[in-house]
Amino acid sequence: MAADTEARPIAQMRGITIEFPGVKALDGVDLTLRGGEVHTLMGENGAGKSTLIKALTGVYPIDAGTIVVEGTPRTFRGTSDAQAAGISTVYQEVNLCTNLSVGENVMLGHEVRGPFGIDWKSTHREAERHLEGLGVRIDTRSLLAAHSIAVQQLVAISRAMVTDSRVLVLDEPTSSLDRGEVDQLFGVIRGLRDRGVAILFVTHFLDQVYEISDRLTVLRNGALVGEYPVAELPRAELIAKMIGRELDEFAAISRSADREIDRGGDPVIRATGIGRRGVLEPADVEVYDGEVVGIAGLLGSGRTELVRLLYGADRADAGRVEVRGRPARITNPRHAIDRRIAFSSEDRRAEGIVGDLTVAENIVLGIQAKRGALRKLRKAEQDAIVEEYIQALGVRPANPNALIRNLSGGNQQKVLLARWLATAPQLIILDEPTRGIDVGAKADIQRKVAELSEQGLGVVFISSELEEVVRIAQRIVVMRDRRKIGELTSHDTDVDDLVAFIAEEHDTQESPESVA
């Protein structure tokens, strides 16, 4: 492995300090990127990872410290300065022009010129060559928007190679990719590494860290914890360094899955044959008081679609829904809310938080919407509710007047949970509540879900991390290819069983009932 030999440093950041009004976002942080190495930046949300990346790529000016690229000290006044110095970035949300062709995107600003202006034929041939260098074979004349995020990221990487980048920053590139796409991306990354490119990688997935990285830099609260070769840092130790405390917290939660549920009376919700043409094959779901029903399945399996139909976020065109045994027509969110059903979307930013409002306003939004515009919560009531939930969920910073968009992902998620809990629901649907948030917040949220269900709340819980589902759900609905393929009980299921079940062939439309 490249890490064994002390590779040549391409970019060195020393003593980087960045201050925002009232906050020291980075305090004297070092980072060294070596050619032919994949270097992963680790830290909880709010540790300063994205700030450090933005300093390296010229988005933020630094208040103190030095950046040296290939021996030359640099001051970046903008992203173009960083690119000129050979540092390219590929973001999670690709920053390319989706309304241009693949070839145009790859070659933008580096088009091949002929005697009559741009020679498009050669330009596309050149783009093809670059893409093939990464093992990608697509029509360079097709529109970028027509391709998946995964392909778009590869196009972004090709573009970085066209501009002859020495340092490639990959900011959470894998968060919306499926397994196969991740494998392809990793293949490309290894290829680039072997060509001597220095790669800075950011991810929340621990497995991927150990799969691809040569070296790790860990940040905590804007300060450097240390730099370690991956081989010398086992997982438990890494997590401890990231969150600064030992982790036996998950252990306590795991008991929740084994709790016995009384399925005697009417369930909180019972959906029979609920579905929508082209979106979801008709499926049955029921949730009892105090029960956590997990929904497992890959991205695009129909798990999100199912819960959106239950909540009325999208309209079902088939099936019946009963709430506590009484037929219910739920065709928009208001219908669900009136029946004390709550739903937290997987897309926290676009469908969850109201960014320019404060934490307090975001918390009371649900309860206020339920009361109607005219019956405004009195200030005292509002303060009491906000205070209660900020404490109960451990929202940080505990400042009700902070704008929610300035909070870390995990804390935003806690605020959204607070918004719904304040409306006193009988059923709460959580779609990927732990995605993209740090380990500490993850544990907090799981513990809260377990606690709430013990108190009698019905919960539907979706997560890409199957350990999570197995740990806290008593019953698991398994989805694949936009249909429900079965149900499992947790206490005789582990992650391997679940993976096997998802992977198995299920030819019949009938769901094999394996509920005990």
């Binding site: 909540y311 976020a313 969110p333 208001r334 809310i337 739903f343 979307s345 676009a350 469908e351 969850g352 938080i353 109201v354 960014g355 320019d356 409002l357 306003e361 939004l365 649900g366 206020q368 919407a369 339920k370 009361r371 109607g372 515009a373 005219l374 019956r375 405004k376 919560l377 918004r419």
Partner: protein
């Protein structure tokens, strides 16, 4: 001190004060207020009175903008409401009767409400883009007003109607009290109820608001209806000021000035957070600017250019990014001096 500097109302207020100072330097009589026939009289009083129609329209525009919308039809609605009210009074046998005047005002405003509801229907229910939806009435409304007045300028004599824009109460113009009432009512409705924060939520993130159970459709619809009603009242004030329904000139370009007032006051055109106080300051800034052209004696031919330059300066002064750049520039220049001294 720092707190004051950072307050979002700081720069809009500074811009307004700077204009007033500029005028006073040009003509000290600008700030003089005398008593004439028991009424306060002076350029500042004129600004208070003449700003009333723009104030009402801007408050409505602000609410619509907060929902991520825009209402281009306000000028046309003003023309319609004025035409309706004056036609009723002109056709009535007793134009000086308070009852007649109240009916005329009521009908004028009701018609405006209907027009606002129409706009809201197009935007909130049909889903037409606000700029297109309100463009329909912007173009057609004036035609309707012309139809009502028969293509002529309808003039009336009616003491109670005249009082709306030209009367005085305890020495101050009645129109100013109408402004104050509108400001207070809008502020109360938006801030004493949860309507304001729900409107902002819808403007900032419509989908998140919908999923949180906010009745976004009703809120958007209501915003356009409110804008219609306020524009209707503005049309009444406009016609009362000249005692004539001039369908071609009533509220001409007022939608643009209203948008400008809202933006000068610090509300983003992208929707979301809005500030009533900011809009009020924005309206006074624009009205003062109009007086400035007169007081500085800017020739008519260059008046639009002058207006544009002042607006650009005001907007630039308020731009956070520009202020940041200037501060940075100052900082960058400072360390050099000691080096030279050494």
């Amino acid at each position: 001190m720092k707190k004051i500097l950072r307050h979002r109302m700081f720069w809009p207020v500074i811009a307004l004060l700077a204009l007033i100072v500029l005028n006073t330097i040009a003509r000290p009589s600008f700030i003089s207020i005398t008593v004439q026939n028991g009424q306060l009289y002076g350029a500042l009083i004129d600004i208070l009175r003449n700003s009333a129609p723009l104030m009402l329209v801007s408050l409505g525009m602000m609410i619509v903008i907060a929902t991520r919308g825009i209402d281009l039809s306000v000028g046309a609605i003003m023309a319609v409401s004025g035409a309706v009210a004056l036609t009723i009074i002109a056709d009535s046998p007793s134009p000086d009767d308070l009852g007649t005047v109240l009916v005329a005002i009521l009908v004028g405003v009701l018609v405006s409400l209907l027009l606002g509801i129409w706009n809201g229907f197009l935007v909130a229910v049909v889903g037409v883009q606000p700029i297109i939806a309100t463009l329909v009435l912007m173009l057609a409304g004036r035609g309707v007003a012309l139809l009502i007045t028969g293509g002529f300028i309808t003039t009336i004599n009616s003491a109670p109607y005249k009082f709306m824009a030209q009367g005085y109460v305890i020495g101050l113009p009645f129109a100013f009290f109408v402004s104050i009432a509108a400001i207070v009512i809008v502020a109360l409705i938006e801030r004493r109820t949860a309507l304001g924060v729900l409107t902002e939520a819808v403007g900032i993130n419509p989908e998140a608001s919908r999923l949180a159970g906010v009745r976004a459709r009703g809120i958007i619809w209501g915003a356009y209806a409110a804008s219609g009603v306020l524009a209707g009242f503005a049309g009444i004030l406009y016609t009362s000021n000249i005692m004539a329904a001039d369908a071609n000139a009533a509220g001409l370009y007022i939608e643009l000035y209203a948008i400008l007032a809202v933006v000068l006051g610090g509300t983003s055109l992208a929707g979301g957070k809005f500030t009533v106080a900011g809009t009020v300051v924005g309206v006074f800034t624009i009205e003062t600017l109009r007086s400035t052209i007169l007081f500085l004696g800017v020739p008519s031919a260059v008046a639009p250019l002058f207006l544009a330059i002042v607006v650009v300066i005001v907007v630039l002064v308020q731009s956070q990014r520009l202020r940041g750049a200037v501060a940075k520039l100052a900082q960058a220049l400072r360390p050099k001096k000691p080096e030279v001294a050494r």
